[in-house]
Subunit: 115 residues, 2 copies
Amino acid sequence: MNSKDAVTRLAALAHDQRLAIFRLLVREGPNGLPAGDIAGAVGATPTGASFHLKELDRAGLIHATRVGRYIRYAVHFEGMRQLLSFLTEDCCQGNPELCGSTIKKARKLCKGETK
Amino acid sequence: MNSKDAVTRLAALAHDQRLAIFRLLVREGPNGLPAGDIAGAVGATPTGASFHLKELDRAGLIHATRVGRYIRYAVHFEGMRQLLSFLTEDCCQGNPELCGSTIKKARKLCKGETK
DNA sequence: TGCATAATTCAATAATCCTTGTAATATTTG
DNA sequence: CAAATATTACAAGGATTATTGAATTATGCA
């Protein structure tokens, strides 16, 4: 993971509809959803959704799989992990207690605790 | 944490120099660094650094403290945690094993493991 | 007070990204 | 093969963001 790729991924997420798409797919898990359902869920036009999905794909945050006449999109979890790691790398020079274990707290959310 | 704030934070990080500044301050911990040192470390002009620091501040990712004639910037760890949580919220509908516990893996980095 | 240092503000140009509609491609079904 | 559905590709505009240099504010020190 280098800085350039991280910026690409962050820029991909730094958009209201794309962030909504990403979070929807994070919730959805490995099976993902077809493009049309995604467009409907976030209130995007088909053209708009396609554009945004392509951005997220290009960035390495999601991936597409054709299933019949549908194209399903799902989160690329390894790409997501790489980004989170890059942001928190070497936090507090290895003394996470200094920041109140920011990451440890954030992690809980992956277990469905909503705050 | 709402979507609008998250987009603001992600957009703040989606820039080469700002990401470098943020990661530098993550490593540095709660004491932070003065603006001049930050500019030098990431190869920014004073004007450029000031602009980017203000963006990160406005987004709620860092905060400024005047110390004599220096202004020290440090990561706002709670703001960072909110963002990470927002990105991973309700991951895999509460079954993180489905994505290989993306967050659990990412978390290790906060302990200084450089992988 | 006067000078040096630290950092910011302002203004103008350049670059990038978002949005929308229309046309095109791929696939299933009759 | 023809029609219908799902999705993508292309092009043009309008809006937002980055960059630069010069001028400005704030602080410390002789």
